[in-house]
Structure formats: C-alpha cells, structure tokens
C-alpha cells in the first residue's frame, strides 16, 4: 500500500476567488450583488440599530411610570393605618426608586452608543423614580412616621431645672 491518504480538508476559503474554483455557484446566486454596495448596507444597519436602541432606552426610561401607578394603587389599598402590610408597601416604595437610582448607569448600559442621546431617557428615568420616592415619602407622612410635628421633637425633652428649691411641711 503506497500512501494511506484517503481524504483531506482544506480550510482555505475559496468563496471569494472564483478563479480557482472547481465547483459552480448554485443557481440563482450572483456573487457580484454581495460585493456591490457593502458600505451603504452596513450604514443602514447601524442606523436601524441606534434607532432601536434609542427607542428601547426611552421605553426603559418610561418603565417606572407603570411601577408608579401600581405602587399608587397598592398604597391606596394599604390604607392609612400603621401595620405590617402598609409598612411593607411603603418601604418597598421607598426602596425601589432608591435602588433604581443607584443603578441608573447599569440600566442604560446596553443602549450606550455614540450616536444615541441617552440624557433625555436618563432624566426621565430619574424624574419618574424621584416621583416614586416622593410617593413613598408622602405615604410615610400619611402614616404619621415622619417627624414633622413639634410633638416629635419634644416627646423626650426632660423637664427644665428650677433654680430655687424649697422644702418643709407640717412640723414633725
């Protein structure tokens, strides 16, 4: 047995060099159309993507609004008395905007693009979240948990010292 070579795989791509091609193109495939305006196609594609990104960013920025409505509804449901449920709702209403605000950069990370103007969505996002926070604080206030009254500041005020002292009574 001379050489044992039965098959071989050539990894060189021959698709763009039809000169040295022994297999014909499949019918209906025109090699020229691909190569024709390559640059315009890619520009179009990028535009679409940035448009999509901007759209998405606005969507993300508007997302807290829905949240806000839901929160408002739940707060209305919870009532104005201090108990476990209302406290839980209020604190989640306070916590969500705070955590969202902390992660503003992260939320808009995927839509970062040199061509996409993210300031608008970001501002909207922040404004909506601040709105949520305000709602939470308002709820806290309606629950009476904010020290906004004089009584909240004087409740542990010790009595004033008196300068004079007098003792006595009925003779022993």
């Amino acid at each position: 047995m001379g050489s044992g070579r039965r098959w071989a795989v050539s990894f060189s791509d021959n698709s763009t060099s039809p000169s040295c091609r022994d297999i014909r193109d499949p019918p209906g495939f025109t090699r020229a159309s691909v190569d024709q305006d390559d640059s315009t196609a890619s520009r179009q594609k990028k535009d679409a993507e940035s448009n999509w990104k901007a759209q998405k960013a606005w969507e993300v920025a508007q997302a807290p609004f829905k949240n806000l409505l839901m929160m408002g509804f739940m707060m209305w449901m919870a009532g104005n008395t201090v108990h476990l449920f209302s406290i839980g709702i209020t604190f989640s209403a306070l916590w969500q905007p705070v955590s969202a605000l902390q992660g503003v950069g992260k939320v808009f990370e995927p839509y970062k693009d040199s061509k996409v103007e993210l300031l608008g969505p970001k501002l909207l996002f922040i404004a909506l979240n601040l709105g949520g926070l305000a709602l939470g604080v308002w709820k806290l206030n309606t629950l009476g948990l904010l020290p906004t009254h004089a009584s909240d500041w004087v409740s542990s005020l010790p009595p004033a010292q008196e300068v004079e002292y007098s003792g006595g009574g009925i003779p022993l």
Partner: protein, 951 residues
C-alpha cells in the same frame, strides 16, 4: 415574689388558756388594738381580731375556760369570743354616767348554775354580766360623784366584792357589795390629808398599798371586816439612801409589792399588820409578773432583771422570797432593750414538779417565750407600728466574696452535697430535709444578699414607733438586721420620727456603704432636743450618733450631695434657725454656693397659716456656729379661721423621676406640663365640716383645694367643692394631684384630679426651632419669672372609702402610672391613672381614642382583679410605699399596717423583659430545629443540583 407577714403589736396583757387538751395557747391584747390567740409552742397566730382605732382594749380575760372576754372602748363594750376559733359569741354595751378607769374581773369562784359572773367597773358604774350570754345581771351606781375605782377585789371563796378607790385626791373609799345581787353591804371612807398617788398594789384580798402624793410615804391600807386603817411608813425608814420620789409598780402578789425610785427598784414585803420589810434592792431594770396559783395556798410569780447582755429570770413563791423555784440567765440580744412586761404560766412536768414558761415583752415590742433556759420563740412585733420607710440597695456581687461566705470550707461544702445526695435518694430524715430546705433558701436567687440585674432585690429600711430600725429583704421579707436607737447620757428615751437617705453611693463613691439618717427626739414633747443617728444599711451598725443642742421641727433634705454622695440636710429648730448637716466645710461651700436659692416653708395647721422663709445670715446667739443660719419670713398664706381649716397637705416626692415635660395629645399637639418640685397641694374644709361624715348639712360644708408655689407663695390654682367633706387623702406626682373626699350632696365618695400645664411654653411649636435646638425649654427657670399656668380638672365618684393613696414610681418615669389605693377593707387597689384623666369626654374623637382616652363615666370603675393584695388583707393599713426597680417597667410596692405586704407591679405590663413563664427551652428547641432544617434542605438541594448536572 409577694410576701405577707402578720403581726400583733406590743402586748399589753396576756392570759394563758388553762385548757388541758388541745394545743396550748395564750390570748394577748396589744397596743395596736389586736386580740389574738397565739400558739404557745411556735408563736404562730391562731386567730386575730383588729378592733378599730377608737375601740381601745382595756382588759381581757378568759371566762368558763372557753370564752375570751374583752373590755374595750373605755369600758363600754364587753365582748366574748370563742376561744378555739375566735368567733364572737356575744357583745354587750355598758353605759354609765361618766368616764372613768375601767376594770375587768372574771370571777372564778362564784358559780351560779354553771355560769361565771363578769364584774366590770366602767364609766362610774359596776356591772355584773353573765358569761354565757352577756346579759347584765345587775348594775350598781356609786353615790359619790368623783369616785375613781382602783381595784375590784373578790376574796377567794366568798360572795363579797370589794371596790376600792379614791374620791378627789385625798379620800379613800371602800365599798363592800354582795356579788349575787349587787346589794351594797358596807361603805367606808377614810381621809389622808396629803393625798394619794393613783396606782395601788394589792398585797392581800383585804390590803392594798399606795403612795402619798409626794411619793415618799408608803401607805398600807387594810379594810378587814369593813374597817379601814391606814398605816404610814416613810420610804426613808426602809431605805437609807432613797433618792427622789418613788412610783408604785402595780402588782397583785400576796405579801409583796415593788416601788421604783429614780434608779433603784425596791421589793418590799408586808409582814403582819402594816409592818414592812425590804427584801431586795436592785439597780437593774426589773419586770414583775402577777401571781399565779400553782397549788393549794401557794402562789408563784416571776421576776425578770436586765443585766448587760443577759437577763436573769427568777420564779419565786409569794410567801418565800429567799427561795427560788427557778433561776436562770439567758443571753439576750442587745437590740431588744430592757424587759417591759412578764407573764407567767406553769405546767406539770412528768415527774409532777412544776415547770414554768415566761412570756416576756421587751422594750423593742418583741414578744419572747422562755422555757427551760432558752428562748423558744420570738416575735418582732415592733413591725406592727412602722412610721417611716426607705429603700436601700444591696451590696454589689463581687467574685469570691459570696462563695466564701456561703461555703466556709471544704468540709461544709462536702456536707452540703452529701445532704443533697441523701435528699435525692429519699434517705433524708426530717432534720436533713429542713437543713436542705434552709440551704436552698440561702442560695436561692430570691433572698440573695447581693444586688440583682433587675433591681428587684433591695433592703427596705423601716423605722418603727419604738425607735427600732429594721432592714427587710424584699425577696422574702426576712429581717436582715435590726437596730434599736441607743440611749445615751444626754438622752434617756429617744423616739424616732423620720428616716432619710443620708448617703446613696453611686458613680464615684461606690466603695462607701449606703447609710440612712434617723431623726429622733429626746422624749415626746416637741421642744425636746433632737437626736440624729446615722446607720449603715449593709451592716446595721450605727456609724455615728449626735445629741443635738437644738430642737428639730422640720427636716429638709436638699437636692445637693457632696463628693462622697452624702446628701445635705437642713434642720429647722423651733426658733426658726436652720442648721446644716453634715457639718463639713465641703458641705458648707456647696451650701454657700446655693445659699440664695434655698427657701423653706412651714404649715401651721392649727392656726391655718402657711409661711415661706428665706435664709438670711449666720446665727447670732448662744447656739451660733458656722453651720447655723438665721431665716426671715418671706410670705404667708393665711386661711380665714372661720371658714377654712387645713386638713391635708401633700407635695411631690423628692426622688420622683419625670421623663418628659411634654404631653402629646390627639393630632400630634403638644401640651407642656408644669413640673415643679416646689408645689404644695393644700386642702381646707369648713371648720364645721371637719368632724365625721354626716355631721353637717351640705350647705355648711365645703372643701377648697389649693396649689401653692412654696418659693414665692403664689397660689397657682384654687378650686372649691361645695357640699364636700373630709377626710382628704391626696397624692401628688409629676404635674397632677388626685384627691379623695366625700360628696355630701351625692352621698358618695369622690376623687378629683387636677392637672397643671405651663401656658407660657405652649407656643413652642416651631418644628425647625426644635430640630435645631433653638429653644429654651430645658434651660433652668426661676420661679420668680411668674409662670402662666392652666389647669384641667375633673371629678369622679368612687365606691370605696380610702385609708391612703400612693402612686407607682419607676426608674425613668416612662411607664404609665397607677394609683394605689388603700381601701377601708385593708386591701390595696391599683387603678390606672388613665381613668383619672381630666380630658375624658363623653364621645371622644377618633384621634382621642387613639391616644387612649377612655369615654367619660360618672364613676371610676371598680375591677376586682386589680386588687394588688389579691385575697390577703393588710390589717390596719397605714401606708403604701413604692420603690422603683432598675427595670423600667417594674415598681416595688410595700404596704404596711399591723401586717406587712410586698409585691412587684408592672403598670404597663413587663414590656422590657420576658415573663417568668416564658419557655426558654421551647425557644432553644425551635432555633435548633430551624438550623437543622436549614442544613438538611441545603444538603438536599446541593444533591439535587448535582444530579441535574449529570443528566
């Protein structure tokens, strides 16, 4: 946690029950108006009755062997009680023309159809009463107007009764009366020109001995066969060196009597007709019992003499002085003082000889039973008359100290463990069991002698009327130490008046022991010089005692302490000089610094004036030293004597802690409390209405309540209750005062509350100022700055009549308050202060309801469950004291009267600690189970995850 102790008071008279069967008992009557039956073996109370304070017991005796006869209320009420169980059998009222000394004699030798006759001389009349049903058999009036009987005598085995006594000062009278029908058989009188002293001693059934009015001549008066003969014997003839006038020690021993001069007690025997002979002279303090018939014609009596740390007992036969039936010496605690009274009882030993028991009443009111040379039992009955209470901390537990004290050495330790082992193996004998129990008690948490974390264990220092101090452990009420006020050369009979905390070390003076100050007086009169005694509360040792040259009219603890935490006290004498104690230069410099800010006031309730004084300068005069200051009058409030009479004054407690000056009301509004240490509540009533309830019509009776500033004399509030009458009981705390009185129009008791608020602070409502601290709410204020106050008040009906009111006090003053009301039934009722809120309205708004305001009702609720004393009674309740524990929610309550009661209260529940029945085991098990569950589920999830990955 609670404890209740029963006492009877100082024994006046004791009668031994002669029952042959059953448990031996002794019947006693006491100065606290108690009739009690005590177990002779252990001193326990079988039964006890406390008579009212105006129903003073004059005499007791036993009739027919099964009835206890008591004469009380100045001889006008005669009662019979069943001896075994103390139930009342009958009661008779004995009237008479005038008030006299009353005498009780239960005749034993005169049987009329199995009945004994009780002969009572009272209210100037002689009564014979049947012992079975209390029916008056006959009465006999005496024609002489001012006859004062001294003895009612019935010679043994005869039907005659002799009543002897004095008319005016110099006439001796003898009446001979037939005991069967009260017929007067003979009346003789004799005059002795120089007069008699009232006390007589009976030396035979027909002879008495008295002293003349100068106390220097002995008069032997015999009235044999109705003939009176008086023999005079000057004491100087009997005793050469007798000094000063003598007094008679009343006794009834055949043939022997005793007199006492200034320092010597003399026993004198009567031989034959009026001849006297001195048998003994002694310098020791001596008490003599009455004669006790022991066999036919033989009478024994007991003598108790006090000699240093011992007492000598002697039992002698009446006719044979030189021979002693019994002679013993017993070591006696110095703190018990001298013997005051002795009662003798005998029993037959197995060898048919006579044994004797002696019941001794000591100077400190304790009652001891002596038998066979030992004290069988003792009762600390001084505790029935507590006059002042204060609390003291226990020592801090230090490593090594307590262990060394409990287990002295290895042997003791081993013995203890052996005993415990025996106990668990059921091998212990009864003595062993008792030993184990006492050991357990000693080492138990409750009665440990060290401070605990929650501050529940404390010492209650109590001062009793006799001038004895006791330290009671709050854990179980046992007496830790006791101390009788010392007599000194300068002061023979000191009496205790008040108790103050002298030194309460904390912070920087922790190595000092705390001490109390006892302020006393030399004798009962108010112009007697004062006595101070400083007592260490850990050990009960007297640190120092001072006999003062000045009197003590007022004692004022000042709100200043020196560097070793001694509190400055100002004592005011009757000349209105102020004396500063302690007399140290440091105290003086502190005092000088605050000199112009110290004032004092005096309430002269007899003439209706309240006066305010200020300090002026150093004293001038004979008592002058640098610690004495002159004072000047500053203001006075004079109540018109024709319309007002002071019946109650009350102030805040000096040591009360107030948490806050603000009161938050509905809708987050603030009211500022007017909190001042210098407020005095005064209640006055119309002079006509100061008598008993019902003695006046509503129109002529009123009650006026005042709130007076004691620095400036300004009346801050005044309110009149028309148709109201005393007695008024009041309590003052924080910014409110609650008082209790009788409403004549409604025929009910009422309680009123006044709350006082500071109006000048009311506009401090700017939040930003408060947040930034730009307010002057906590800056010191002067009372001369004219405070503007408003008051709120409200009255409610209350079902009970009240003996005393107190209020709970806690460590920081955060916990809500309860009123502790001592009811007429001698119980203590706790009532939330919320019920006595002046802002209660018929229909409270939602916000007010949230604040905790209860809808208005006309009367205060009476909740049977809120009796602090449960089913127990604190007989003769006089005072309620509250002491804060270290735990904010809890307050310690001590109620005292004839009985003592102690408990812990948590007015708002124990919010800062777990309850005693909290199951720590359950908590632990839950935690362990949860941890196990977490671990198991974690392992399971791990495994499942791994399996998923392999799939």
């Amino acid at each position: 946690m609670d404890w209740h102790q029963q006492y009877i008071g100082k024994v006046k008279q004791a009668v031994f029950s002669s029952q042959k069967t059953g448990r031996r008992r002794v019947i006693v009557s006491t100065e606290e108006n108690v009739i009690a039956s005590l177990d002779l073996r252990h001193g326990e109370i079988f039964w006890r009755h406390l008579l009212g304070s105006n129903d003073v017991i004059d005499g007791i005796d036993i009739g027919l062997g099964k009835y206890v006869i008591s004469l009380s209320s100045g001889g006008s009420i005669l009662r019979s009680w069943n001896l075994p169980d103390g139930q009342m059998v009958w009661e008779s009222f004995l009237q008479g023309p005038k008030h006299t000394k009353s005498l009780l004699l239960v005749s034993t030798n005169m049987k009329i159809e199995k009945d004994n006759v009780i002969v009572v001389f009272s209210n100037g009349r002689l009564h014979a009463v049947s012992c079975i049903d209390g029916e008056v058999l006959w009465k006999k009036d005496f024609e002489t107007e001012s006859f004062e009987a001294q003895q009612v005598i019935q010679p043994p085995g005869s039907d005659l009764i002799y009543v002897v006594g004095f008319t005016a000062a110099s006439q001796f009278e003898m009446y001979q009366i037939n005991a069967r029908n009260g017929e007067l058989l003979k009346h003789e009188s004799a005059t002795f020109s120089s007069g008699f002293l009232r006390e007589v001693s009976l030396v035979s059934s027909e002879t008495v001995v008295a002293l003349d009015s100068t106390g220097s001549i002995l008069l032997t008066i015999s009235f044999q066969n109705g003939e009176i003969s008086i023999q005079q014997t000057p004491i100087a003839n009997l005793v050469e060196d007798s000094s000063g006038p003598a007094i008679m020690i009343p006794s009834s021993i055949p043939g022997i009597f005793a007199i006492k001069t200034k320092s010597v007690t003399i026993f004198i025997r009567v031989i034959g007709k009026g001849k006297l002979e001195v048998v003994e002279k002694t310098n020791h303090e001596t008490a003599v019992s009455n004669a006790l018939p022991i066999s036919e014609g033989q009478q024994a009596f007991a003598l108790v003499q006090h000699a240093g740390s011992e007492i000598h007992l002697a039992v002698k036969l009446a006719h044979d002085w030189d021979d002693n039936l019994l002679k013993e010496s017993i070591k006696m605690d110095q703190q018990r003082g001298i013997p005051h009274k002795v009662f003798i009882n005998n029993y037959i030993r197995t060898d048919r000889s006579h044994g004797f028991r002696l019941l001794i009443v000591m100077e400190d009111h304790s009652l001891l039973l002596l038998q066979q040379g030992a004290i069988v039992w003792g009762r600390e009955d001084s505790l029935a008359s507590i006059i002042d209470v204060t609390a003291s901390e226990l020592p801090v537990e230090r490593d090594g100290v307590s262990v060394a004290k409990v287990e002295h050495n290895l042997f003791e330790w081993l013995k203890g463990h052996m005993l415990k082992l025996k106990g668990t193996l059921m091998l212990a004998s009864p003595e062993d069991v008792a030993a184990i129990q006492s050991m357990r008690l000693k080492s138990s948490e409750k009665s440990k002698m060290t401070r605990d974390h929650n501050g529940f264990r404390k010492l209650l220092i109590v001062l009793t009327r006799v001038g004895k101090l006791f330290a009671l452990h709050t854990g179980d009420g046992h007496v830790v130490w006791s101390h009788l006020l010392h007599k000194s050369e300068a002061c023979q009979s000191p009496i205790g008046l008040n108790l103050y905390q002298w030194q309460v070390p904390h912070h920087h003076a922790l190595d000092e022991n705390p001490s109390v100050l006892v302020i006393g007086r030399c004798g009962p009169s108010s112009d007697a010089p004062g006595v101070l005694s400083f007592v260490d509360t850990y050990t009960g040792k007297e640190l120092n005692s001072l006999s003062l040259v000045h009197t003590v009219v007022l004692a004022i603890p000042l709100p200043y302490t020196d560097s070793i935490e001694q509190r400055l006290h100002l004592l005011i004498d009757s000349d209105k000089h102020a004396h500063l104690y302690p007399k140290t230069s440091e105290a003086l410099s502190i005092f000088k610094r605050e000199f112009s800010n110290i004032y004092w006031y005096s309430v002269e309730d007899h003439n209706g004036i309240i006066k305010g004084h200020a300090l002026k300068c150093k004293c001038t005069g004979e008592v002058a030293d640098e610690f004495c200051f002159d004072t000047r009058d500053l203001w006075s409030v004079v109540f018109p004597s024709e319309s007002e009479k002071i019946i109650a004054t009350v102030t805040r407690k000096l040591n009360e802690v107030v948490h806050t000056q603000a009161k938050i009301i509905a809708d987050q509004d603030v009211m500022y409390k007017y909190i001042s240490r210098n407020l005095l509540f005064v209640a006055t009533v119309a002079p006509k209405g100061s008598g008993e309830i019902g003695s006046v019509t509503p129109e002529e009776s009123w009650l006026v309540a005042y709130l007076i500033d004691t620095v400036t004399g300004r009346i801050l509030h005044r309110v009149t209750h028309h148709g109201a009458q005393g007695p008024v009981h009041a309590v003052f705390s924080e910014n409110w005062v609650v008082y209790h009185y009788f409403n004549l129009r409604a025929h009910r008791y009422e309680m009123s509350v006044i709350e006082i608020y500071d109006q000048s602070r009311a506009d401090n409502k700017d939040v930003w100022k408060l947040v930034l601290g730009r307010h002057n709410l906590t800056s010191p204020i002067s009372l001369f700055s004219r405070p503007e106050v408003t008051t709120k008040s409200q009255s409610y009906f209350f079902t009970h009549s009240v003996k005393s009111i107190a209020v709970t006090s806690t460590a920081k003053g955060i916990t809500s308050k309860q009123l502790l009301i001592g009811t007429i039934g001698d119980q203590v009722l706790a009532l939330d202060k919320r019920f006595l809120d002046p802002r209660r309205s018929v229909n409270p708004t939602q916000a007010e309801k949230e604040e905790g305001i209860i809808p208005l009702t006309d009367s205060l609720p009476f909740i049977p469950q809120s009796y602090v004393t449960h089913a127990l009674r604190v007989e003769g309740l006089r005072g309620i004291i509250t002491v804060p524990a270290k735990l904010e929610s809890t307050t310690l309550v001590f109620a005292h009267g004839v009985d003592l009661f102690f408990t812990q209260l948590a007015p708002s529940r124990t919010y800062d600690s777990l309850t005693e029945d909290f199951s720590y085991a359950l908590l632990l098990i839950t935690i362990v189970a949860l941890l196990a569950a977490i671990f198991v589920t974690w392992r399971l999830s791990e495994r499942k995850e791994l399996q998923d990955k392999w799939r």
